[in-house]
């Protein structure tokens, strides 16, 4: 086992590479190349998981070399720190069920000639992400980052005959590369003063000071914020995640965004020295904004995958909020409080990966069965797809932060961090904490409304479309991973202490934190450092709920009670799916109440040919204003294009002009050099 741990990371990458090559060679044999890609991915992910669990358990990093070229003295090393191990563990935990699901999904829902390309790109994406998590120098990090980005873009463009997919991939590439550009600039500034490209040297925390430090922070915040999907850098995410095949979307929403979170942790929070109070406030503000706007936009979506993508933005915001609270605590020197907040953030990352993976895979099965992503055309799926429905319900309960499921403990811990922050921070800054807590409460209640809507409209009552009434349950190979993730939701919800134990080593390895062993007590529960402030023991509470449920069941199913099946009262008419409440109607009150955010526009046209009194057709169009696209990116994009047009004057296409430029430049350089010597 120890030998495996020592070579696990390079071996996993080699397996991925081999599987990519083999997949591409077997391109004519759809079945063989599917299993090649999936088998390689699973074996490599399991290997990664072994290494990650070892590092988390022992809380000491594993270092090694990935690649060495003696002649040029180039060496690419890797280092699995406890923090990277946590992210690797989440990656492996989701990658394995996603790969298994893909085995069933690709066979049914993917055009055969594409299997090889999608399988290879999926492996490349996961491999690139692994390199990002383990790289110990800027070069390795950026290589992995770029492989991951390009592979993701390829996956987003899987259905490249649709214009929407191509646009999504393009938008993704543009935004990602703006982000990568910021990262390269930030790394170059740090590397030039460190004189080295290795992370320990670059992130030692005392390389920049004053405005320069703030500038570097801003570059990294934008660079990683794009990947994490934080508002206002999020615009690519709701377009890109739904466009990919469903199993890939699940991985992207659950794990890929954590690449951004990882960067925010490693560099912004713990790599630039003690965080500034203003940075922490930026984090908290952006986190709260992303959480609230993310869920508000999710509420009005009718495309199920787009809805889940917006909800990913929400959860990314919650993770950043936790991290922001930790940074504020660090800025004030409260190491214990910072530990609580970091734990909350990392725990939510794990939990989000699990339930978001589950929901996306469940949605994938529904989309495959009905052939549409429009929730207004689902309905009644609980009867046709009982298992998918059950697992989706578990995911919906978990993401709404309800007790006994895994969304609750991490949101609880985030609340603890915010409230403890209030009690132990001086001055007016502390009022940010209850404000953020109130908005977090609003966010989680809105998430509950959002998921009542998705689940209720999609799975309950009557089918709203022939496609929904003909839906078939997904094959076992796809249901298995769903069941696994749903079980994890319940287990980690009932025994959250397990996760805290795992996180102790991770937090201990981060500078400035002091983990309090008392946070996880027994196997039953967890507390926020002080048991007297607050604690939860969901397992214990489970008994109370179970007791209540048994009493309720006994009251309603006593012997001798008659049960009658009857049609639902249709208000005097026949009840059809047309009289059901729609998803749009469900979110209408919130749409009107938050009208200032949505700024909805509605257009109703009555088409009449003969007389305006004999309407033949009514056309209805409603949309909410894409605020960021219109007011931020619109002017920005136009500005860039205008600048490019202006520069066209320089690039006239005449060789003589270009030669003149060279001459003028040479003269200027000579004059400048002459002036300096």
């Amino acid at each position: 086992m120890n030998g495996l741990v020592a070579v696990g990371v390079p071996l996993a990458l080699v397996i991925r590479l081999t599987s990519i090559v083999a997949t591409l060679m077997l391109v004519r044999h759809a079945r063989a190349c599917r299993w090649m890609a999936i088998g390689g991915s699973i074996v490599a992910s399991v290997m990664t998981a072994v290494v990650a669990m070892h590092v988390i358990g022992s809380a000491s990093a594993i270092d090694g070399t990935l690649f060495r070229h003696a002649a040029s003295e180039t060496e690419l090393g890797y280092s699995v720190t406890p923090l990277s191990a946590w992210f690797l563990m989440v990656l492996a935990l989701i990658a394995v069920p996603v790969a298994l699901y893909s085995a069933g999904y690709f066979a049914h829902a993917l055009a055969r000639p594409r299997t090889a390309a999608v399988g290879a790109a999926f492996n490349a994406m996961v491999g690139g992400l692994e390199v990002v998590f383990v790289a110990d120098s800027v070069i390795g990090f950026l290589c992995g980052w770029e492989v991951m980005t390009l592979a993701t873009a390829a996956l987003v463009a899987t259905e490249h005959e649709s214009r929407a997919s191509r646009r999504a991939a393009y938008l993704f590439l543009v935004m990602s590369h703006v982000g990568t550009g910021c990262l390269i600039a930030g790394f170059m500034i740090l590397a030039s003063s460190a004189g080295s490209l290795s992370f320990p040297a670059i992130l030692s925390g005392h390389l920049a000071s004053g405005p320069m430090r703030d500038g570097v922070f801003a570059l990294f915040f934008i660079g990683f914020g794009v990947k994490a999907g934080l508002i206002p850098l999020h615009i690519w995410l709701p377009a890109a995640h739904p466009a990919a095949p469903s199993s890939v979307s699940a991985f992207m929403s659950a794990v890929l965004i954590t690449a951004g979170i990882y960067g925010l942790f490693k560099v912004c929070a713990f790599g630039l020295g003690t965080p500034d109070v203003n940075w922490a406030l930026v984090f908290m503000a952006v986190g709260t904004l992303s959480a609230l706007l993310g869920v508000l936009y999710a509420l009005t979506q009718t495309d199920i995958k787009r809805l889940l993508a917006y909800s990913t933005i929400e959860n990314s915001g919650i993770m950043s909020l936790g991290l922001g609270a930790a940074m504020l605590a660090l800025a004030h020197g409260h190491s214990t409080l910072a530990t609580v907040a970091v734990t909350a953030s990392l725990m939510h990352m794990l939990n989000h990966a699990i339930f978001k993976g589950l929901l996306f895979l469940g949605a994938g099965g529904v989309v495959m069965a009905t052939g549409t992503r429009h929730i207004e055309q689902f309905g009644g799926l609980m009867r046709r797809m009982p298992w998918t429905g059950l697992f989706f319900l578990v995911g919906a309960l978990a993401i709404s932060g309800l007790p006994l499921l895994n969304g609750f403990p991490s949101e609880w811990l985030t609340f603890q961090a915010l409230l403890l922050g209030f009690t132990s921070t001086p001055g007016l800054v502390r009022l940010n904490f209850p404000l953020a807590a109130a908005l977090l409460a609003l966010t989680s209640a809105l998430a509950a409304a959002c998921f009542v809507r998705v689940f209720g409209i999609s799975f309950l009552a009557l089918p709203r479309h022939p496609a929904a009434s003909a839906a078939q349950e997904s094959p076992g190979l796809m249901l298995g991973p769903l069941g696994f993730l749903a079980t994890l939701c319940v287990v980690l919800g009932v025994f959250p202490g397990v996760v805290l134990r795992g996180l102790e080593g991770v937090t201990a390895s981060l500078p400035g934190l002091r983990p309090a062993g008392a946070m996880a007590w027994g196997r039953l529960g967890m507390s926020s450092t002080l048991t007297s402030f607050d604690h939860i023991a969901p397992a214990l509470f489970g008994f109370a709920l179970l007791g209540g449920f048994i009493v309720a069941t006994a009251l309603t199913t006593r012997r001798g009670l008659a049960v009658r099946q009857a049609p639902t009262w249709g208000c005097g008419g026949e009840l059809t799916s047309r009289s059901e409440y729609t998803a749009t109607a469900f979110s209408k009150p919130l749409l009107m109440i938050f009208g200032a955010v949505y700024r909805p526009t509605r257009q109703v046209d009555a088409v009449a040919e003969v007389s305006p009194y004999f309407v033949e057709e009514v056309r209805y169009r409603a949309e909410i204003e894409p605020t960021f696209e219109r007011y931020l990116y619109g002017p920005l994009g136009r500005g860039v294009v205008r600048m490019a047009r202006g520069m066209k004057v320089l690039q006239a296409g005449s060789l003589h002009t270009y030669l003149a430029y060279v001459l003028v430049l040479a003269v200027i350089l000579l004059m400048w050099l002459g002036g300096t010597t």
């Binding site: 109370a544 209540g548 049609p567």
Partner: protein, 318 residues
């Protein structure tokens, strides 16, 4: 090991007693409010035991299940009931101890009530009736708006006492005596508004109407009949007692039994009953002297409560 088991049994026994007690009292409170409201309107009102008669009648009736619905429809009221019953074990009533305070505090209580609401709203969508959808949509909307105000109000009290655990919180308050801070008035007013919103009372919702334009909670449970409806009604009544008890705990824990002496317990029962009764009168007065607000005016009411909660925090700690 033995003391641990003893403690566990004691907690379980206390939890059973408290849940049973609140379940028994809840229908009475509902009828009392109904009766007082009737008096306001110069009517006689129902007899005091009407709540129990109604429940007994509903529990004996046959169950009607829509042929469109799935198991979610059946599970909804049971989870709603279970959540309300489980929530009773998290709140101190007669003693400054919540039976299951080892399981969690305020956030778990709020989460549990949210679980019940989620279950009922989901189940309401299952029959295909437009009423269910309408009710679910409105109920989730109002709950979402009320949540931040509820949390802020609770935080204001919890941070003052230095604990989010209700048992611990009440013990601290009892130790401090009646020495209260003016900010408590603001926090109380804020929370009272939320209690009205969460229990479906005028001016937010009208418990006595079945008019589709105005109903919220009643629309959500319109398709239920017999024992299923009994569960919903009973759980709603328990929730109401629970919210009023919460207000009593946070703002006027006077008279709570500090020892297990019979006299102290008797005093605690009388004090608790009197305080809840006073709050019930207030609820009745508010309900009888106000008109129901339009749905889209509710956010204004709730934002007043949010503002009060925030002010309470600011006054107290700045």
């Amino acid at each position: 090991m033995i003391p641990a088991i003893q403690d566990a049994l004691l907690a379980a026994g206390a939890a059973l007693l408290q849940a049973g007690g609140l379940l028994a009292v809840a229908p009475l409170l509902k009828t009392v409010i109904k009766k007082m409201k009737a008096r306001f309107q110069n009517r006689q009102g129902p007899p005091l035991l009407q709540g129990y008669y109604d429940l007994a009648k509903l529990l004996r009736k046959e169950r009607v299940r829509s042929d469109v619905a799935s198991w979610v429809y059946v599970a909804g009221p049971r989870v709603y009931f279970a959540a309300a019953v489980a929530a009773t074990t998290l709140v101190p009533v007669l003693f400054p101890v919540a039976p299951l305070e080892a399981a969690g505090g305020i956030l778990l209580l709020v989460g549990t009530l949210a679980l019940g609401r989620f279950a009922l709203a989901t189940a309401a969508l299952d029959t295909g009736s437009p009423f269910g959808g309408m009710g679910a949509s409105r109920d989730m909307t109002i709950a979402a708006l009320a949540e931040p105000a509820l949390m802020l109000g609770l935080f204001a009290s919890a941070l003052a006492a230095g604990s989010m655990n209700l048992g611990e919180l009440v013990r601290t308050l009892v130790q401090q005596g009646i020495n209260r801070h003016p900010a408590d008035i603001l926090a109380f007013a804020g929370l009272f508004v939320i209690v009205i919103a969460e229990t479906g009372r005028i001016p937010v919702d009208n418990p006595a109407t079945h008019l589709e334009l105005t109903m919220i909670h009643e629309a959500m449970v319109l398709e239920y009949a017999g024992p299923d409806l009994a569960l919903v009604e009973w759980a709603s009544a328990v929730k109401e007692v629970l919210y009023l008890t919460l207000l009593v705990d946070l703002f006027m824990p006077v008279g709570i039994a500090i020892s297990a002496a019979p006299v102290a317990v008797l005093v605690a029962i009388v004090a608790w009953g009197a305080k809840v009764f006073v709050l019930a009168i207030t609820v009745t007065v508010v309900e009888s002297t106000n008109a129901k607000l339009r749905l889209f005016r509710v956010p204004e009411l709730v934002s007043i409560s949010l503002g009060l909660g925030f002010l309470a925090l600011a006054i107290r700690f700045l």
